[in-house]
């Protein structure tokens, strides 16, 4: 690893000014779990690292009934997994966070760092999409908010400008009668990068599904909601046949990656089966297999 300057700003404005000053020669460091691997392999050799550990604006995981959940960008994955408000209002997210990576990485890796890395195979972006997450971004002068789907631009690419950083993720309070699930499909049990990740959220009352949100990650350049599959079940009483139709639609509308980890055809087949299983469990239908 080539040596670098270690910069320790104490506010968002100061951190952003440093980023402006150093430009492409600097990298922000939150927990650092992914960045350390890139540094060690010399995939990146920045002249300076800007630590985000001293920024109070990035801390804190807070719930309030009107505004929902604010996840400070420096929130550790383990904090998301254990926070009582997350378990109560978004149990699917608590489940997701409890199974990310491994315990030591969850004690170091942050939610904000994960999202800024833009790796489509990690869990948070897919899981957060179905809760209509918004991201709060700042530079030295101002802040802006945008939907998470607009933040996730391309493979390992986000909407952040070079002088901007992610301050927090905001989730609106979940609508009434919601249920959610999150699942990964691994090619082998020993793997920790999923081939397919599926997040679902549905509103169900008196046997009718008034809303379905379905996001697929790990098999496209960025995780995305699949609106065609969602429409199959929205406003209907869920049945095994409709779930199968939604799974077919999801496989069809997915813009599938085609790489060494799986061909586009294989990924579509695994999306179909994972979506079918997840929706079957979400709507508590008998498993046809």
């Amino acid at each position: 690893m080539v040596d670098f300057e270690w910069l320790t700003p104490t506010s968002v404005a100061e951190a952003c000014r440093l980023a402006t000053e150093y430009g492409d020669d600097a990298r922000f460091m939150a927990g650092g779990t992914a960045l350390m691997l890139a540094l060690r392999q010399r995939l990146v050799s920045p002249r300076a690292l800007i630590s985000l550990a001293g920024l109070p604006e990035l801390k804190g995981l807070n719930w309030d009934d009107a505004n929902g959940l604010r996840i400070g960008a420096f929130t550790l994955q383990d904090e998301l997994a254990r926070h009582p408000a997350v378990a109560r209002h978004y149990p699917m997210l608590a489940h997701l966070a409890r199974h990310m990576a491994n315990p030591q990485v969850r004690h170091q890796g942050t939610i904000g760092g994960n999202l800024c890395y833009g790796d489509p195979s990690t869990d948070p972006p897919t899981g957060l999409l179905v809760w209509d997450a918004e991201v709060e971004i700042a530079n030295a002068q101002a802040s802006r908010r945008l939907p998470l789907r607009d933040f996730l631009v391309d493979y390992f690419t986000t909407a952040l400008a070079p002088d901007e950083l992610l301050v927090a993720v905001h989730l609106p309070p979940p609508p009434p009668d919601t249920r959610g699930r999150y699942a990964r499909h691994m090619r082998t049990a020993a793997e920790h990068r999923p081939l397919v990740a599926v997040a679902t959220m549905a509103r169900v009352a008196e046997g009718q599904c008034s809303e379905l949100r379905l996001a697929v990650g790990a098999s496209s350049v960025v995780p995305r909601r699949l609106s065609g599959a969602e429409a199959v079940l929205t406003g209907r009483a869920p049945t095994t046949a409709l779930v199968a139709e939604a799974a077919d639609t999801a496989a069809h509308e997915l813009d599938a990656l085609d790489d060494a980890r799986g061909s586009a055809e294989f990924r579509r087949a695994m999306v179909r089966v994972t979506v079918r299983r997840e929706l079957t469990a979400l709507f508590e239908l008998p498993d046809p297999t």
Partner: protein, 162 residues
């Protein structure tokens, strides 16, 4: 022109003792502990965050010391495997690993002990499933894990090992 890297002053508490040092920004926590402080109980295994042999406890949280820089932990309270025993008196986890045969070659053992120690600090009476979950970031290529899990449960007073 070769210039020596700038050194950053660090103040930490390691195994209850105050430590002051000067390190370049690129010094990894694992190398700082082993090469600068000669605390060689912490092992370098894969050095890619997969195996967990380098696990230490930082401010109560088990971390992989190969995945972070020493400068990230200025001011921290760090526990390594050297801090477990009290003189000649083994830590209950060390005693149970010995009693239950929780190790063979021993290379993963310091990391296993530190992950288990962090678990028991938080959850004094874990289930076998919780032990397996919390040790899932530590790889052992010898034992097949059964006796490691038994060792941790034994230390927690939950069961008796073989």
């Amino acid at each position: 022109m070769i210039t020596s890297p700038r050194l950053h002053p660090l103040a930490m508490t390691i195994n209850g003792q105050p430590v002051q040092a000067q390190v370049p920004a690129r010094r990894m926590l694992s190398d700082f502990l082993r090469d600068d402080l000669h605390l060689t109980g912490t092992k370098r295994g894969c050095e890619t965050g997969a195996c967990g042999a380098c696990t230490v406890i930082v401010n109560g949280r088990p971390l992989k010391s190969c995945l972070s820089l020493a400068v990230q932990h200025d001011g921290a309270r760090i526990q390594t495997v050297e801090g477990l025993a009290d003189g000649e008196q083994l830590h209950p986890l060390q005693a149970s690993f010995e009693r239950c045969g929780g190790l063979q070659c021993g290379y993963c053992t310091p990391g296993m002990l530190m992950s288990a120690c962090a678990l028991l600090d938080r959850t004094p009476k874990p289930s076998a499933e919780q032990v397996r979950q919390e040790l899932s970031g530590n790889l052992c290529r010898c034992t097949g894990y059964t006796q490691i899990v038994e060792s941790v449960l034994d230390a927690a007073g939950a069961t008796h090992g073989n």
